[in-house]
Amino acid sequence: MTPARTFACLSVFLLAACGADPAPEPVEQIIVRQPDTPPAAIAAAAVATAAPTSALIAEGKAAFANCSVCHAVAKGAPHGAGPNLFGIVGKPAGQAAGFAYSDALKTSGIIWTAAELDSFIAGPATKIPGTTMMAGPMADAAKRQAVIAFLESSDAS
Amino acid sequence: MIKLNVNGQAKAVEVDPATPILWVVRENLGMTGTKFGCGIAQCGACTVHLDGKPVRSCSTPISVAEGKSITTIEGIAGEDGTLHRVQQAWIEAQVPQCGYCQSGQIMTATALLAKNPNPTDAQIDAAMAGNVCRCGMYNRIRQAIKAAAGQPVTKETVA
């Protein structure tokens, strides 16, 4: 390999990266309607990612008590009946080493964004048919939001 | 509401009857193994079975499927999860590269073998002509089809 090649590649590569337009806003934006059913997940996620209050986190921590029967959240703590959820937000589903996931979860391709977590907790078996998670749906949207805020917080990540 | 049978399961979807099967399967039913490649039935990436016959789902409206059974790549393995012999042959021959076209290739190949268990080279060419593989794995596809048919396999590519 010649040095010329390395630089050429790099410069071609960087050129495109640096030459990106400064992202113009729309010249014209016709909003016909808002999405019919803005999923609660989005709202929940938006709130959850917007610096949740310590009260919300505390509420989530309390609500997580049920979950902690199966799930550890402390860094490095062993898996229980369910996998350790330390730093789960943002991770791909079914990938924690040393835990035997269902095929359904392992192959779901889901990235655990706050929104994904929300819809999963709202109905695990509906969201991922075949999951071996035993817990039933957590119907209370506010509670789900709190649990996710807790999982995202420094207390659990 | 359009009533469907997909991979043996009853489904109902609320869509424009003109919507191609491809988008109903991918977006409404959440099964993404069937791929979008060209939108005009030229590449075969979207191939599914309609009552066992291969169709290009990008160009077949969902209304056509009412009362018929749709089979997608997700539905050809056995109920216990055992892969179809064509899928197994695909792994044996290490067919896929990028893999994007392979759902369609496999659906066309399984339909071919269901209809013609012992195809000749010319019949394989004819049946598979509608499926493009941009990674050019045609020799391995042919080899895998022959292996799945129980024919002696002569490698098209020899190393």
Partner: protein, 746 residues
């Protein structure tokens, strides 16, 4: 690699630590290195990201061992079908003596915490010795690593020869030595008496034996071996073996997730259309019908494209096609393909026999021609080519609350993340990029355009949007392999030996050595270029400039052979007198093909040899010209990439490159009319199909295990000239312009 004369000014000269870090910042990224864990080592910070649980430690950035004795290779490249996950894991696992059946693969995250310039800084810190493989050219090595890994770029057939050879093997060997040192300390025996195999550590004399996992923690406390000892090929157990690819099972049951399969709750779908003339803008749009169509949520004039967002993609596409759009005028509006070639011709005419920018010159070319007994001249042309990856460009984005998530398949995840950050107007750190399998890359997915477009749409809507290009858009808005013209003059002496060579061609992108022929013995030569505006956007296309120069050079060599009254194979043998590796490759291909055996009437054989990306490939093509169009029946391939890590994977790459190159040679032709790309889909930009695929026979040669070449691209450049040379042998018709579909063979 040691010199750094070329390239842009700020990268000239010696690579100081400061310069390097600067480069990292420019790229919006930096470097991740295979540094083992030790006290105060930055890799400790990576542990929480990649290691799970207390019984597991990263041994270095590329390998981890868990409590179940699973060795995980962290691969800083993307899988687009080239088998890179498997080949790189093989290199690491072999050096580590890992049990191949217990090796797992993880794609490195496109994450600043993982790929951070602070790690690069620490890597270059004076107290950290550099593993032997990075020497003698730390500077060059760093640059190469920065490109191949820090930027997480996959292309240029780099993965195995750069990342694999320089990093994965070193990482594996270092991890092994650290495990051995930990065991030696525990067992109180000399490290030299300990052996490793199948992820087990054994001390035969004392009868001690333990899995890697037992010493993973203690190994992590060991210091990094400054110069881990790499295996010689006779010790390889996993490298060189045709291991099954890890990614194949999920690609036969529909479960593999590609970029287009991203699933974000609440996401909507966008169809887009950009002005058909590159550089034009959207002046106005009439969306009165689209507004009333079912499922439509928003209609956006983004200035440089129009987008419709709807509940479903099909609805978006239907509505988009109802929009009447007016575009701005550009200088390219009236341009057609003939005018572009005429422009090339006039620049080449102006350059004449001595003009243009010199690329290389050796010997007295003028005298060579003056003395030549026979002079040969020829001009060749190739068209623009689109990539036509099976998976059309697509990207899913969600911009909200100062954060951005992006899902796609990209050859350079860190660059994709930067493109999204720029488009969202957010800092890099606030963007999370999720990479999926690529439904073909071929260089197209090294561009950031489609990532930026989706991000801008998502920013405007506020909710998650999956943007999918139609095939028509994918064909018309590509970054193309350039159309090009190349002119040659060659001089033969009275014995038919090649004594002078003059080539001038349009454009030079990359690799810079693509037009050169240092392996051919020619007394004098000069190679020049002219830069000519070509209207369409340039993009690296599988094998990049080699894709055209392979055809130009090997066609002209064949013409010279004919003029010299010599056989194409014999003529090349003479030219390769001082290049034994190349000669062996050529001989192997010729021998496999039975070069001297007769063929039926209207059949022909053609040979071509092109070294590229560190690998030497020769091909002999057999064509049947008895029908109305050429039928390539068989291709014999001999390839020397130094050492073949995975023979089946490498063979598959040869097959794939032949199919890709043959598609282009037979049909590939992107043309302009009134400034617009005329082709739109597979009916007018045809692909090779099953019945047209030649049988292929491949011979692999391990010619130099210390200098590995690439696999993804080198199989492509020889196929077009091998075929056109075979057509000449069969018919006497010399093809000087591609594609073959332009020519009448009836």
């Amino acid at each position: 690699m040691s010199k750094t004369e070329t390239g842009s000014p700020e990268k000239k000269g010696k690579w100081t630590r400061r310069a390097f870090i600067g480069a990292g910042v420019v790229a919006g990224s930096a470097l991740v290195v295979g540094v083992a864990v030790r006290q105060g080592n930055p890799v400790n910070r990576l542990n929480p990201l990649l290691a799970n649980g207390k019984d597991e430690r990263l041994l270095n950035a590329w390998v981890k061992v868990d409590a179940d004795n699973i060795v995980t290779a962290v691969i800083p490249h993307v899988e687009m079908g080239q088998g890179v996950y498997t080949a790189l894991a093989q290199m690491l696992a072999d050096e580590m003596d890992a049990d191949w059946n217990r090796v797992r693969i993880l794609e490195a995250p496109a994450d600043m915490q993982y790929v951070s310039d602070s790690i690069a800084r620490d890597f270059l810190a004076p107290d950290l010795e550099v593993p032997a493989l990075f020497e003698p050219t730390v500077a060059g090595g760093i640059l190469e690593l920065a490109q191949a890994m820090g930027l997480q770029f996959t292309g240029g057939s780099y993965s195995v020869r750069a990342t694999g050879q320089r990093a994965m093997r070193t990482a594996g060997a270092a991890a092994r030595e650290m495990l051995v040192a930990a065991a030696a300390s525990e067992w109180q025996v000399p490290a030299g008496e300990i052996s490793t195999a199948n992820s087990m550590i054994t001390h035969a004399r004392s009868g001690s034996s333990a899995p890697f996992s037992q010493f993973a923690l203690a190994a992590a406390e060991q210091s990094l071996p400054a110069r881990p000892t790499l295996k010689t090929p006779d010790k390889y157990t996993i490298m060189g073996q045709p291991k099954a690819r890890h990614d194949i099972p999920e690609k036969v049951d529909g479960s593999a997730i590609f970029g287009i399969d991203a699933n974000v709750p609440g996401m909507k779908y966008a169809a887009v259309k950009a002005p058909p003339v590159i550089g034009a803008t959207v002046e106005s749009m009439d969306a009165s019908t689209a507004k009333t169509m079912p499922g439509v949520l928003q209609i956006l004039n983004m200035g440089d494209f129009v987008a419709v967002v709807a509940d479903g993609y099909w609805q978006a596409q239907q509505a988009l096609s109802s929009i009447d759009t007016k575009y701005s005028k550009t200088e390219g509006d009236g341009l057609d393909q003939e005018a572009i070639f005429a422009r090339y011709a006039s620049h080449l005419d102006d350059a004449g026999e001595d003009g243009g920018d010199s690329e290389t010159e050796e010997g007295d070319v003028a005298k060579g021609f003056a003395d030549a007994a026979v002079k040969v001249e020829a001009e060749y042309k190739v068209p623009f080519l689109a990539h036509a990856a099976m998976e059309p460009m697509n990207c899913t984005a969600w911009v909200r609350d100062g954060k951005c998530d992006v899902w796609s398949g990209h050859q350079a995840p860190v660059k994709a993340r930067q493109a999204a950050a720029d488009a969202a107007g957010l800092p890099f750190e606030d963007v999370t990029y999720h990479n999926a399998y690529l439904g073909g890359g071929f260089g197209r997915r090294a561009q950031g355009d489609y990532i930026a477009m989706a991000t801008r749409i998502a920013k405007a809507t506020g909710y998650p949007v999956k943007m999918i290009w139609s095939r028509e858009e994918d064909t018309a808005q590509d970054f193309y392999r350039p159309s090009a013209t190349s002119r040659f003059r060659g001089g033969l002496d009275k014995d038919g030996r090649l004594v002078s060579w003059d080539n001038i061609h349009t454009h030079l992108f990359d690799p810079k050595d693509a037009p050169t022929v240092p392996y051919y013995k020619i007394a004098s030569h000069k190679i020049r270029k002219v830069e000519v505006p070509m209207q369409l956007r340039f993009g690296p296309w599988r094998s990049v400039d080699h894709s055209q120069h392979g055809f130009f050079i090997e066609s002209f060599v064949d013409e010279l052979a004919h003029a010299a009254g010599k056989d194409g194979y014999a003529f090349r043998r003479e030219l390769l007198a001082d290049s034994p590796r190349h000669l062996k490759v050529l001989d192997t291909a010729a021998k496999m093909s039975g070069w001297d055996t007769p063929l039926p009437d209207k059949h022909g054989r053609g040979i071509a040899l092109v070294p590229s990306f560190g690998s030497i490939v020769a091909q002999v093509a057999e064509v049947d010209m008895s029908g109305s169009k050429p039928k390539v029946t068989k291709v014999y391939v001999a390839a020397d990439p130094g050492f073949v890590i995975n023979p089946d994977g490498f063979t598959a790459q040869m097959e794939s490159a032949i199919a890709y190159g043959l598609t282009a040679a037979l049909y590939g032709d992107i043309t302009l009319a009134s400034g617009k790309v005329q082709q739109s889909n597979f009916h007018d930009y045809p692909m090779l199909r099953m019945g047209e695929m030649p049988a292929i026979e491949v011979a692999l040669i391990n010619g130099d295990h210390q200098h590995l070449g690439g696999g993804g691209e080198p199989g492509l450049p020889p196929i077009a000239p091998a075929v056109t040379n075979a057509i000449f042998a069969a018919t006497g018709k010399r093809i000087r312009e591609l594609p073959l579909a332009k020519h009448d063979f009836a």
